[in-house]
Symmetry: C2
Amino acid sequence: MSSRREISLAERKRQLVADELTEAALQLLALKGFDAVTVDEIVGAAGVSKRTFFRYFASKEDVVVQFLADMGTGMCAELAARPAGERPSEALRHAVWVPLGECADHSERALRVVRLILGTPALLARFLERQAQWRDDLAAELARREGLDDATELYPRLAAGMALNAFDAVLHRWSGSEGEEDPAGLTDGAFAVIAPALDAGVPRG
Amino acid sequence: MSSRREISLAERKRQLVADELTEAALQLLALKGFDAVTVDEIVGAAGVSKRTFFRYFASKEDVVVQFLADMGTGMCAELAARPAGERPSEALRHAVWVPLGECADHSERALRVVRLILGTPALLARFLERQAQWRDDLAAELARREGLDDATELYPRLAAGMALNAFDAVLHRWSGSEGEEDPAGLTDGAFAVIAPALDAGVPRG
DNA sequence: TAGCGCATTGACACTTGGTGTCATGCAAGG
DNA sequence: CCTTGCATGACACCAAGTGTCAATGCGCTA
């Protein structure tokens, strides 16, 4: 009965390959630019076959965007964990801060990836596509929190969108300033702007 | 000296080919789905070579998204044309209504395209990429209107983002209801939600 | 009218992203 | 020891997109 160990062994192996791939990819992409690097180069550097690459990542963009995949789930989880009585602006600010805090902590690595994404149209497109999913999840959670119907009320979707707007704005300014500006301060500033709508827009906030 | 006529003749020829291509593409894509239609099919239906297709459109996605290209310029133009003293929420609402009104007018055609875009990840990604550009333009114009510095203030970018959020929400609900819901009413509803932030967020609005 | 330039097109080869398929290898488990 | 299953690699293949060049068509001019 070594079931738990076996699973973790196989999982660790998978994780190892995935890490090797992301490592090689991020290295090359940040160095030469997204379009100038082929998948064959990446797999060559990582020592696996092209087919294996696409078993781990759905696309060449995915290897970069996947790096930020947890952000969405982290945000939603945090929003769901916030106290029920909290105002939307507060709950969303804390939710959005989860991934931003991660970025602030691992600034060297995160900055490289963020700059790569924001500066590459194809990557930006995929990133925004992901965010659209996050927005739906956030909206659903927000609707639950506030007791609204996501299908008839515009507020949940708009509020989630505003929060992600703040997220994007902070990311943009942070990467644009080479990491000089303080993410926490930027986040507070952004939410100060959108808070009036977040807290007034919901019926009986 | 028939310079004016010649130019317009060549332009008309180009426009003719472009129209033929978009027509054939939209027909096929709406019918069989984005991934199930190859560029070769489209050019076969339009009677041109594959190479010519890519001389008119940068990508397969582009032939659909291009169809909505004017939206961005229309919005910015309208925003720039709004009276200087108008509150941001009003100016932006009018700006956003320009493309939405177009959709409402040509509902059969617009609805098909919008549903195709919102239902196809690859198209959605390209659409959002375009919107990111619109947001930058709107933010710049908004900063000019309000006398703010787009580089240091968060408000312009956030306000532009909120307006586009409203735009997206309206489009989503409109296409989701098969064109049943009234775009004008939805727009008003969306801006009622975000107006508090639009008008309060700007210093001395 | 004949000839000269200029732009558009088609044909074709080529690169690259991405997928289906199959055979091999390897590790767990009876 | 055998087998069962999973991850990988090798290979062929399709579709998107690009570079190149020859041909075609059209206006302009001598």
